[in-house]
Symmetry: C2
């Protein structure tokens, strides 16, 4: 028994039938004695419908204050419909928009950040015995203008509300039933994690396991709000994202993330002198191209090889810029390869367990997978390999680190 903030995304409220199902689910939690705040997104398709109207007027990239006014109607429709569905079942419910809860944000149009929430208003409704149904993704700035948090902002709304009212748990209902050790489409033995730390979740999310908004995870981690990912459509406990505890220290590795969307660029034979990295990457950054991994090796002859990765969509633009830069710097050549993938082991356990990296490299070597680039952080080891090795790489690492479902671990390879 406690206070729960539950968030249902666009797919979960994508039709009247699904909204009715959400109502049943919410009432189930309420019948267990919980106080419930529900945060909802626009019905799936609605935001795109509204965006198309705006595009008809403003062209391909609509933006600005009026876009916030337009898009925020999507969530308002959902809160009304879900409240109706709850009330029909005899459950006291009240819908609230961003402004009605005084969800204050900065004035960044279309990507505002929440600065404060009037917790007293929500608590009052909960004390009155109502389920409070809140429009996600929206707020108001200090001048009373409507703002939106950007796509996926409903997760952020849920976490911010949970923080403001000190909820016992923030539950994100989605179309998957939790966070997995890796993508089950690549490794059928992938296992749902009971728990994962905020740090691990951030690494998993940013590497392509798009279950949760990164901002929401950061927010929950900062304020230590337990966050649970679970399915809108099936029963089950989902995955709890929380701070580290003793039990979790047992696990070396939480999971294996991968990213198919990267491309690798290498500048060979650049003079090994101070400031060379900035000279190479500066022009790329100024073109608003995001750079992911960066590796620099010193060669024998006082020159260096400099390698980095960018999003595959930015590859040809980045290559043009780099070829120009390489000429100016007197480098001996530029190599580009869009046919690569990044594999990452993620786990807070690697902090206290030596030998994880070498076990990873050996496992890949045993399968004949050549590593083209390595990058490490405190809780993550990433390698770049040829894209043809993606599935094989994920599966052999999944096996090697004993991540498979209970009873399906290949004992000979489990660590």
């Amino acid at each position: 028994m406690g206070v729960l903030v539950q968030k249902f995304g666009g797919t979960s409220v994508g039709s009247i039938e699904r909204i009715e199902n959400v109502a049943k689910k919410v009432i189930g939690y309420r019948d267990q004695g919980h106080s419930v705040v529900v945060v909802v997104s626009a019905m799936s398709g609605e935001t795109n419908r509204l965006l198309d109207l705006a595009k008809d007027i403003m062209g391909d990239a609509p933006h600005g204050q009026e876009l916030d006014v337009l898009l925020s109607t999507g969530e308002q429709v959902t809160i009304a419909l879900l409240s109706m569905a709850l009330q029909k079942r005899g459950c006291r419910a009240i819908s609230r928009t961003g402004w009605q809860l005084d969800i204050k944000t900065d004035d960044a149009r279309n990507k505002a950040r929440i600065t404060s929430i009037d917790a007293a208003r929500i608590k009052q409704h909960l004390d009155d015995g109502a389920v409070v149904v809140v429009a996600g993704f929206q707020g108001i700035d200090s001048d009373g203008n409507i703002t939106t948090l950007g796509r996926g902002g409903s997760d952020t709304t849920a976490v911010a509300l949970a923080t403001a009212i000190q909820a016992n748990e923030c539950q994100i209902f989605t179309d998957v039933d939790g966070v997995y050790t890796t993508d089950p489409r690549v490794e059928p033995n992938a296992r749902r994690l009971e728990q994962i730390t905020f740090e691990e979740m951030l690494e998993m999310a940013s590497l392509g396991s798009k279950v949760l908004q990164i901002r929401a995870v950061e927010f929950a981690g900062k304020y230590k709000i337990p966050l649970r990912v679970l399915s809108s459509f099936e029963e089950g406990p989902g995955t709890l994202i929380t701070t580290e505890d003793k039990q979790m220290e047992q696990a070396k590795i939480a999971g294996i993330a991968f990213n198919r969307d990267e491309a690798q660029i290498t500048v060979k034979g650049v003079p090994d002198q101070p400031g060379i990295a900035a000279k190479i990457l500066g022009p790329v950054s100024r073109a608003n191209i995001e750079i992911d991994m960066i590796v620099q090796n010193v060669a024998w002859d006082n020159t260096a090889n400099f390698t980095f990765t960018v999003h595959r969509n930015d590859f040809s633009r980045a290559m043009e810029i780099i070829e120009d830069t390489a000429n100016k710097l007197g480098a001996t050549g530029v190599n580009g390869d869009p046919g690569i993938v990044k594999l990452s082991l993620v786990g807070v356990g690697m902090r206290s367990h030596a030998g994880i990296a070498s076990q990873m490299f050996e496992t890949l070597a045993d399968e004949g997978i050549n590593i083209r680039m390595i990058s490490t952080s405190e809780i993550k080891i990433s390698v770049v390999v040829d894209e043809k090795y993606l599935e094989l790489g994920v599966r052999c690492l999944h096996d090697a680190f004993g991540l498979a479902k209970d009873g399906t671990v290949d004992e000979s390879k489990a660590s």
Copy 2:
């Protein structure tokens, strides 16, 4: 040059193309030096789309607070899109919802009445040089809940805003180019009126010329805000609805209204005693059936014939009730006829001109039209006739009172 409040209904903003046209029109007025507040409805079809969603949950007659939350999104979509269209053309514009302008209403769900508006906020935006684009039909109650004014409430919003900011004129743009002497589909010679009084407009509107919401006309009349009806799609001065002035006293008759939706019920031979009208009509009213015309004639034998009209949809229900009542009162019989229409002459001029009624009756008699019921008020004479005489009756009266277009008056019949 002055302050204008302009209202565009659902058809006028029914597509992106039409919204762009509204933007051009508004900018035209602004370029003439006017300050403009624009009130808009939901795009045509949108309110029904939202209602259908609510019906899927609540059944055929959705109602209550959450319906207000749902429907009010329709106008919010339009204000955003129109503001975008204005801004695209270099016109400063800001959208405002009901709550952003602090449009306070009572808490009657789905049919609230405006109680106050924060005029200072609108004036501030006008002083800043912006066109203020306001969501019609919506407000908030004293607890900050969203309310709606009921269908057509955008007219009321426009008049209330015009009153609050003391606008020079409130202009209602619609799909007709003004108020006509009668329905042009019945009398092709019907003429657009340059001016009409509030009182005349109320009689014309309530009798079936559905150009304007009655509440809006009442409101404008009460606060003496000049109201103009004009076309969204064509140029032209429309019709100005205003208080009486000397010029207008020249015209005896403003127009001819009619209503096809009535049915007549007669109770014959009821004892002519005090309280008999209440005894007959009480049970009908208690069944929530609205009664329009009521006429009572005393017969020779100290009994009375009592006749009234109801909406044709309520006819069979009203007949059942009346037959029961007639039995109890010892009346000699009940006659019902759903095949009737009401024709009404409307004009403030009849106050000071004698002989209008007899001219009307003679005109109808000349055409062999039998009058079945007569009812008069200070500025209106209504008669009930067989429905087959509707077109003939309207045309001969239109001729007789000289209402035809300039140059097409039949001189022999003009008064």
